[in-house]
């Protein structure tokens, strides 16, 4: 019974396993298939999925910082419009001096995601074009989405903070005092007292 339901997913996995050297592959649940590959296998897998298996829609691309392993994990999410299956292609690169191949010749829109990841994580994409500065302006710190970037310290140093809530006390009485001010005329009609 379950084999029948996961028929399409299994078929895709078999194809990919036969064709490529996968580090890991599994069916997460119905409609979710995950494969882990080496960085140099990314383009062949994506091209195969697009051209031969019908995963024509590039849904998303994101990056995870595994600081404990010293690696970035980049996730490509593809979508099959007819079979309605998501394919997750995951790959890991070293945090320092790691680089990934640029895939914007397969899907044009991948350019945007790659530029965002380059800016937010400092991960290099081989042959990626486009302006270096994408979302951040005049940023001269380490890339802000890296986990070794201390956001709170940065915020405390750069921005101002309004005083008053450091002690996290109950402020309802204070607010009640403040609302005893006279209401404007049009609001009196609707006030409870």
């Amino acid at each position: 019974m379950s084999e029948n339901i996961l028929h399409n997913e299994q078929k895709l996995l078999n194809l990919l396993e036969k064709k490529f050297l996968l580090k890991e592959s599994r069916i997460i649940r119905a409609k979710r298939v995950e494969v882990k590959v080496e960085p140099k296998e990314v383009i062949p897998v994506l091209l195969y999925a697009k051209e031969n298996s019908g995963y024509i829609h590039f849904a998303h691309m994101s990056c995870v910082d595994w600081i404990e392993d010293g690696e970035f994990e980049v996730v490509y999410i593809l979508w099959h419009p007819e079979e309605k299956i998501n394919l997750f292609v995951k790959t890991r690169v070293p945090r320092d001096n790691g680089s990934l191949p640029n895939i914007d010749f397969i899907w044009r829109q991948a350019n945007t995601y790659e530029r965002e990841i380059r800016e937010m994580f400092g991960l290099r994409f081989e042959g990626l074009e486009g302006r270096k500065e994408f979302i951040l302006e005049d940023w001269n710190n380490i890339p802000p989405m890296r986990r070794d970037f201390d956001t709170e310290a940065y915020v405390k140093e750069v921005f101002f903070h309004r005083l008053g809530r450091e002690d996290a006390k109950d402020v309802r009485e204070k607010i009640q005092e403040r609302t005893d001010e006279e209401l404007p005329d049009f609001a009196k009609k609707y006030s409870r007292d």
Partner: protein
Amino acid sequence: MYNDKESQKIVDIIQNFARKHSLFVLAYGTGCGAIEIPPTMTSRYDAERFGIRGAATPRQADVLLITGYLATKTLKRVIRVYEQMQDPKYVMGFGSCAINGGMYWDSYNTINMLDKYIPVDVYINGCMPRPEAVIAGFVKLQKLIQEGKADGWDRYKKNLDEYRANQKKIITNWVMPDFNR
């Protein structure tokens, strides 16, 4: 005859009356507050009965609405818009994000206190303030204008160095036109 105090007082009363009842509003739609402006202006809440009216460009506007959080990148644009506006000009800050950062208080690219960078005349609290609260804020602003207390534009000119220092702390690469006092 000119510049004597009594006649200036009368002129001030007339000017403040006109300014109070004719507010041209430039809504700088950052964050979620942008969606509170259309109901405030249209049939349901009808801000036009107070003389409040939308302006399309900073040159014609009196009130700048900062409707929500400000990223450091937008702050640059807001400062330019604010400096293009003609005196007297007023600023209203919407919601907790403009007041103290709100839920974005520890974000690396969102400023926390708007009044450190440009002078704010009225803050409206809430997350996000409903149109009633926005209109209450406008009424408060009218009251301040009538009393001559809405002097943010004057404070900005007088304390320009202080404001500039705060602004430059965030906008490291300062390429902006000079502020024409």
